[in-house]
């Protein structure tokens, strides 16, 4: 793992991706800092941090697009996959390398609040919380990008799809008002989720019978619940989406709130996508 990590980290700065990522990230955050803090002479750095989460949408795809796509395109995945390394080790090495580049960039931005603290008072807890949030959010976004990159040979496709996914996460919050909130739609939504989980189960264990049985069982349970307690399905879609929304949790951090549940959420979100990446690489061998 450590070998893949160091090679990957070096590769970021041998090509242009590392510099492009850092450059764009620092440029845009610099613009935010200038317009929000320097020109109006305001110490409210948290606003800038809020803007940074938007910058992610643009730059994370740059960071993650090459991780596996390039490897596959150059056929160097053959070297990695026929070496005694475990797939998990390879995936983690690459993931952590991308996170390390991201972390380094983030450390550069610490200069902004440092400057502010010289001339005014800043809220350390809010900014600290904001940085923890950004770090976790970044890790989650990079995990998504990593997964997408493992699906395709084309870096452009990987970047565009990652961008699309991150953008839809971003607008997820805005969508919530427009979604149906009645019981029936909640019930249908629950069934669809079970179906999706069942398909995933099937691709993992490749046993149609077991997957079908699991789907049938869960659908049965949901139907029973729906009959017994229909109130539980009111506004289910919105509640689920809210819970899943990466960004609404992030806003807690920028208010200086460090919720354990949110930290766990981000970390498990990242872990889930890293795991999916491992599965995707592993299952490609079977196709």
């Amino acid at each position: 793992m450590i070998n893949v990590f160091t090679r990957e980290l070096a590769a970021f700065f041998k090509g242009i991706t590392g510099f492009v990522f850092m450059g764009i990230f620092l440029l845009i955050t610099g613009i935010f800092f200038t317009t929000d803090n320097l020109i109006p002479q305001s110490p409210d750095y948290v606003r800038v941090l809020g803007g940074i989460s938007f910058v992610f949408l643009v730059v994370v795809p740059i960071l993650t697009m090459r991780l596996f796509s390039e490897e596959r395109h150059q056929k160097t995945d053959q070297l990695l996959l026929t070496s005694p390394l475990s797939i998990t080790g390879i995936v983690l090495g690459k993931y952590l390398a991308a996170v390390a580049v991201f972390l380094t960039t983030l450390i550069f931005t610490l200069l902004y609040p440092l400057q502010l603290s010289l001339v005014g008072t800043i809220s350390v807890s809010e900014i600290g919380g904001g940085y923890v949030g950004i770090l976790l959010l970044g890790c989650a976004f990079i995990a998504i990008g990593l997964f997408v990159s493992s699906l395709t040979e084309s870096q452009v496709a990987a970047a565009v799809v990652t961008f699309g996914l991150l953008l839809s996460m971003w607008i997820l919050d805005l969508l919530q008002q427009g979604l149906p909130a009645d019981r029936i739609s909640g019930f249908v939504f629950a069934l669809l989720i079970v179906l999706a989980a069942g398909v995933f189960l099937y691709t993992t264990i490749r046993n149609l019978l077991v997957a079908a049985a699991a789907i049938a069982l869960c659908c049965g349970i949901i139907t029973v619940l729906f009959i017994l307690r229909p109130a539980g399905f009111d506004g289910l879609i919105v509640r689920v989406l809210k819970w899943f929304s990466l960004l609404s949790r992030y806003r807690d951090f920028t208010r200086g709130l460090l919720k354990l549940s949110s930290v766990v959420y981000y970390l498990s979100f990242s872990a889930a996508f890293v795991f999916l990446t491992v599965r995707s690489l592993d299952s490609r061998r079977w196709k």
């Binding site: 053959q78 026929t82 079977w286 196709k287």
Partner: protein, 351 residues
């Protein structure tokens, strides 16, 4: 032992016979085969890339996979090295099953895929040291291993150069160096000479022959002379099946007797044919035309397994019809290969 998959070999014609079991007893009776592939099948959706492939490779053997493009050579190699998984069947390398103990198998194998897996942004030295590290070469040994491998494949002069700036020949050698770096017991090389110039091909072949002395080598090729030049045993694969499996010597042995001849004789067609027809040793004779003025081209088949060249010479000489040229019309290895791989798939003959 040798003909483990006799059931799947096709009837290859009378002048090319798969050898009897007796031929296979010369060595490695006691030692366990290093690579044992059993009933390997790989399907891509409806398409079957390889079907029921079985073979063994003993320790220290150098075996060639021969077959036209798309025959399933690369698929087989990718399965043995653990890059892809088989749909059915098993592959055991150095005593470990690839599915159950992938790490042990991968440690035992050095693999050079068809396209060498090189990182263009790394220098040769960085790349090889990365390869050494991920293959678990111990820290203390790395320097020495790297030096000896670089020496061996003769890339010393490009050590510090970026791989993307290297020529195809050098890249191929860097790929080979990568396969050798951890000193694996088994070396699997997929089309190692493809895209090289003739001088480089000779160099790589010599290198492979050297390597074959100390370790087990499987190499694939669609070029017959390459396999004959390097390997002692050949597996001919076509459409995902093994159509023949034998040593080079045996493969050629079945072909060497000149039972069929192409002959050019100076004289009239009528006279010449009359001479041949008078000979009891000649089964068939055909005139295939005339390529030089005043000569005839003949195709002659001997009645039994006997050499009729001397008889022909004397008979034609008696009638003052000089033989200008005489050569065997029997299939050489190339023809066998072509016939085996272009013939329609026959049903296995269970003999």
């Amino acid at each position: 032992m040798r003909l483990r998959n006799r059931g799947k070999s096709v009837d290859t014609g009378r002048n090319f016979r798969l050898p009897s079991q007796a031929a296979g007893t010369e060595c490695r009776k006691e030692d366990h085969p290093l690579i044992e592939v059993q009933r390997l099948t790989k399907r891509y959706g409806k398409h079957t890339a390889i079907e029921n492939l079985s073979f063994t490779v003993g320790k220290g053997e150098i075996v060639g996979f021969l077959g036209p493009n798309g025959a399933g050579k690369t698929t087989t190699m990718n399965i043995i090295t653990g890059y892809i998984s088989a749909s059915e069947g098993s592959a055991v390398v150095a005593g470990y099953d690839i599915l159950e103990h992938p790490r042990e198998v991968k440690r035992a194998i050095g693999y050079l895929p068809e396209a060498p897996p090189l990182y263009p942004d790394m220098t040769v030295e960085e790349y090889l040291s990365f390869a050494a590290r991920i293959k678990g070469v111990e820290r203390g040994n790395r320097r020495g291993k790297l030096d000896s491998v670089v020496d061996r494949v003769r890339i010393n002069d490009v050590r510090g150069r970026l791989i993307k700036n290297l020529s195809k020949g050098y890249r191929q050698r860097v790929g080979l160096a990568q396969a050798l770096i951890a000193d694996p017991e088994v070396l699997i090389l997929d089309e190692p000479t493809i895209g090289l110039d003739p001088k480089q091909i000779v160099e790589i072949r010599n290198l492979m022959r050297d390597l074959g002395r100390e370790r087990t080598v499987i190499l694939s090729s669609h070029i017959l002379p390459e396999v004959t030049a390097v390997c002692r045993r050949v597996l001919i694969i076509n459409q995902g099946r093994i159509v023949a499996e034998d040593t080079i010597d045996n493969l050629s042995a079945g072909l060497s007797g000149p039972r069929r001849l192409n002959v050019r004789v100076a004289g009239g067609e009528h006279d010449v044919l009359a001479v041949c027809r008078a000979l009891p040793a000649v089964k068939t004779v055909k005139c295939t035309g005339s390529l030089e003025a005043g000569t005839v081209e003949l195709y002659i088949e001997a009645a039994e397994d006997r050499d009729i060249r001397k008889i022909l010479f004397r008979s034609f000489a008696e009638r003052d019809l000089p033989i200008l040229m005489m050569r065997s019309a029997d299939a050489n290895l190339e023809d066998v290969f072509l016939r085996l791989t272009t013939e329609e798939r026959r049903e296995p003959n269970h003999d």
